[in-house]
Amino acid sequence: MNLHIFDIFPIILFFISFFGLITTNNTMKSIVFIMLMQTAVIMFWVGVGARFGAQPPIIGDIAYLENPDAIADPLPQALMLTAIIIGIAVTAINITMLNALFRKYKTMNWQALQNLSSTEVEEDA
C-alpha cells in the first residue's frame, strides 16, 4: 500500500458514489452521484498534476526560471477542463430525459420506471 494523500480522498469519494449508485432508488440521485463520480476522477487528475508542486502554471519567463519544480503540471488541468464540460453536457441530457420520463410516468423510482416502460413495450409489440 503506497498512497499519496491526494489519492486517498478521490478514491474514497469514487467508492462512496459507487455505493450510492448501487443502492439508491431515485433516478435523480443517480444522476447526482454520477456527477460526484466525475468530480472524484477530476480531483484525482488535478492531484496527479499537483504532486510535485501546486503553483498555478501561469508564468512569465522569470517565475519559471526561479523555481521550475514548484509549478503544477498543466496537462491534467487542460484535460480536465474538457472533462468538466463533457460532464455538464451529459448531465443536462440526462436531466432532460428524466424530466420527460417524469412527465410521462409520474415517478422517479428506477424499478417503477422499468416496469412501466417494459409493459408499454409489450403493448407496442
Partner: protein, 529 residues
C-alpha cells in the same frame, strides 16, 4: 500520400453533415452527400493501399515529440476506416428514398457526425482523445436511437447513456493512473515505457481501463445493453445495424489497441470471458422471438468469439479475428437491413410469424441467405476462412469449445432460416428497389470476402490455407449443420424450454454492480496471476 490527409478523414464527414443540415431545403442535397461519400470511399481505399507499405503519421499542429495529439494510420486502422466508410455508404443509400422532413435533417446530420467520430476513434493514438470521442459517439448514438419522437423508449435510452457514463469514469480514472505511471498520453510512447516496467504496477490502470472497454464490447456482465438498445421501440433498423455492425467494433478495436499497449496482460481471463459470453449470447439468442433481439444476441455471441480469438496469443488467430471483425460487420449490417425490409414487408417483428420470404421478395431473400451462410461459416464465404484461422491457433479441448460455439451459431440461424420457407400469411407490401439493391450488394460482398485476393489485400499478408485443414473444417461444418437441423427439428420446436430467458434483463443498479464485480474479479486475477 501526404500525412496531412489524415485530419481530413475526420473533417470531411463533419463537413458533409453540416452541408446536409444547412442545405436541407435542396432536393439534391442528399444525392450530393451520397456522391461525396462515394468519393470518400475511394479516398479510404487509397489510404488502405498507402498504409500497406508504411504507416502514415501526423502530429496535429506539427508540434514536436509527444506534445500534440498524434494520429496514426497503420493497416489495422485503415481496414476499420474502410469498413466504416463502406457501411455508411450503404446506410446512406439505403435511406436515400425515404421521405424527408425537418426531423430527418437531424438524422442525416447525426449519421455523418457519427461517421466522423468513429473514424477519429480509429485514427487517434491519444488516450484522452479516445475518451472524448467515445463520449461524443455515445451521445450521438443515443439521440439517433430515440429519433422517432412518437414511439421512442426514453427509459432504455437513459439507462444506456448513464451506464456508459459510469463506465467512462472508470476509463478516465485508469487513464489518470496510466498518466501518473508512464507520464505520456500517446499509445506508442506508453507501450515503450510499459515494456520496461513491472507488471504489478500496471494492474490497477489495466483493470480500470479494461473494465470500460469490456463494457463497450458488451462482454459478459453487461451483455444486455446492446440487445436492449437495438430492440428499442421507435429506433430504426439502420441504427440497429450501425450499433451491431460498427459501433461495437469500435470497442473491439480499442481492445486490440490496449492489449498491444499493455503487452497482452490477462489474456487467459479474456479468453474465458469471451467463450462464456459467446455461449450466453447463443442461449439468449435461441430464446428470443423478436427478430432484432435475435440478431443482437447473435452479435454478442460473435463479439465474444472475436475477443476469445484475439486473446489466444497466436499470430494466425489474431489475423482470423481481425478478418472476422470485417466479415461480421458486413454480415450483421446486411442481416439487420434485410430484417428491416422484412419487418416493413410483413409489418411484424415476430420471427415465428414471418414465413415464405422467398416467394415475397427474391433479392431480399437471396441477400439474407447469403448473409446467413456467411455468419455460419459456410464454404467459400469470408467468415469460414476467418473462423478457420481463428481455430488454427488452438488445440485440444479448446478447439472443441470453438466448434461448439460455431454449432450454436448455426443452431440460431437454422431457427432464423425458417422465415425463408412456407407460405406468407396475410398481405405484404412491395419493397423499395433502392433498399433491395443495397441489401443485395452487402450480401454479395460477404461472399466476395471469401476470395483469396481479397483476404491478402485486406490483411496485407500472404496467408495460405492448407487444403486438408480447410476440408476438415468444412466437413465439421456440414456435420454441425445436420446436427443443428436435427436438434432444431426434434428438440427446439417441440418444447420451448428457453421461454423464461426471454425476459432476461438487467436494471441500472444491477449493471453497476456487475461493472464493479467485473473490475474486482479482473483485479484479483491480475494480482494473483
Amino acid at each position: 500520400m501526404p500525412s496531412h490527409i489524415l485530419i481530413f478523414f475526420v473533417i470531411i464527414p463533419i463537413i458533409i453533415a453540416v452541408f446536409v443540415y444547412v442545405f436541407a431545403g435542396l432536393k439534391s442535397a442528399r444525392l450530393i452527400a451520397v456522391i461525396a461519400q462515394s468519393a470518400f470511399l475511394v479516398m479510404a481505399l487509397f489510404m488502405l493501399i498507402a498504409s500497406r507499405t508504411n504507416e502514415i503519421t501526423i502530429s496535429v499542429g506539427g508540434y514536436e515529440g509527444f506534445l500534440g495529439i498524434i494520429l496514426r494510420a497503420d493497416n489495422l486502422a485503415a481496414i476499420f476506416i474502410f469498413l466504416t466508410v463502406f457501411i455508411f455508404l450503404g446506410l446512406v443509400i439505403y435511406n436515400l428514398r425515404s421521405e424527408y422532413n425537418h426531423t430527418d435533417r437531424l438524422y442525416w446530420f447525426l449519421l455523418f457526425i457519427l461517421e466522423g467520430t468513429l473514424i477519429g476513434l480509429f485514427l487517434t493514438r491519444d488516450f484522452f482523445n479516445i475518451f472524448v470521442l467515445m463520449e461524443v459517439s455515445t451521445v450521438v448514438v443515443v439521440i439517433l436511437l430515440m429519433h422517432d419522437r412518437k414511439r421512442r423508449n426514453l427509459f432504455a435510452g437513459m439507462t444506456f447513456i448513464m451506464v456508459n457514463i459510469v463506465v467512462m469514469q472508470f476509463y478516465l480514472f485508469g487513464l489518470g493512473y496510466l498518466y501518473m505511471v508512464t507520464g505520456v498520453m500517446d499509445m506508442e510512447a506508453a507501450a515503450y515505457v510499459i515494456a520496461h516496467m513491472d507488471t504489478t504496477e500496471l494492474a490497477l490502470p489495466y483493470a480500470l481501463i479494461m473494465t470500460s472497454i469490456a463494457a463497450k464490447c458488451s462482454l459478459l456482465p453487461l451483455l444486455t445493453w446492446l440487445p436492449k438498445v437495438n430492440a428499442l421501440t421507435g429506433s430504426r433498423f439502420t441504427i440497429a445495424a450501425l450499433m451491431s455492425g460498427l459501433h461495437i467494433k469500435s470497442g473491439v478495436y480499442l481492445f486490440i489497441r490496449f492489449q498491444d499497449v499493455f503487452g497482452g496482460m490477462a489474456s487467459e481471463f479474456f479468453l474465458c470471458i469471451g467463450i462464456i459470453t459467446a455461449i450466453a449470447g447463443i442461449i439468449l439468442a435461441l430464446s428470443q422471438k423478436d427478430i432484432r433481439l435475435l440478431l443482437a444476441y447473435s452479435t454478442v455471441a460473435q463479439v465474444g468469439l472475436i475477443i476469445a480469438g484475439l486473446s489466444l496469443n497466436d499470430e494466425y488467430s489474431r489475423i482470423g479475428s481481425v478478418y472476422h471483425v470485417v466479415n461480421h460487420g458486413l454480415i450483421k449490417v446486411a442481416l439487420f437491413l434485410g430484417a428491416g425490409m422484412i419487418s416493413y414487408l410483413y409489418k411484424t417483428k415476430d420471427i415465428t410469424k414471418i414465413r415464405g420470404l422467398l416467394r415475397v421478395s427474391k433479392p431480399v431473400a437471396i441477400a439474407n441467405i447469403l448473409a446467413v451462410l456467411g455468419i455460419t461459416g459456410a464454404t467459400f464465404f469470408g467468415s469460414s476462412i476467418s473462423k478457420y484461422f481463428m481455430i488454427s491457433g488452438v488445440t485440444g479441448a479448446l478447439e472443441w469449445v470453438f466448434i461448439f460455439i460455431n454449432f450454436g451459431t448455426i443452431l440460431v440461424f437454422v431457427r432464423y432460416s425458417a422465415i425463408f420457407f412456407g407460405r406468407p400469411k396475410g398481405a405484404v407490401l412491395a419493397p423499395d428497389w433502392c433498399r433491395e439493391s443495397v441489401v443485395l450488394c452487402l450480401g454479395i460482398s460477404c461472399f466476395a470476402l471469401g476470395v483469396q485476393p481479397a483476404i491478402n489485400f485486406l490483411l496485407n499478408q500472404q496467408v495460405e490455407l492448407s487444403f486438408w485443414g480447410y476440408l476438415e473444417k468444412n466437413i465439421v461444418f456440414v456435420i454441425s449443420v445436420v446436427a443443428a437441423y436435427l436438434v432444431y427439428k426434434f428438440i427446439l420446436v417441440k418444447r420451448d424450454f428457453l421461454r423464461p430467458l426471454r425476459r432476461f434483463d438487467l436494471s441500472f443498479k444491477t449493471m453497476c454492480v456487475s461493472i464493479g464485480a467485473f473490475f474486482g474479479v479482473l483485479l484479483v486475477v491480475l494480482k494473483v496471476g
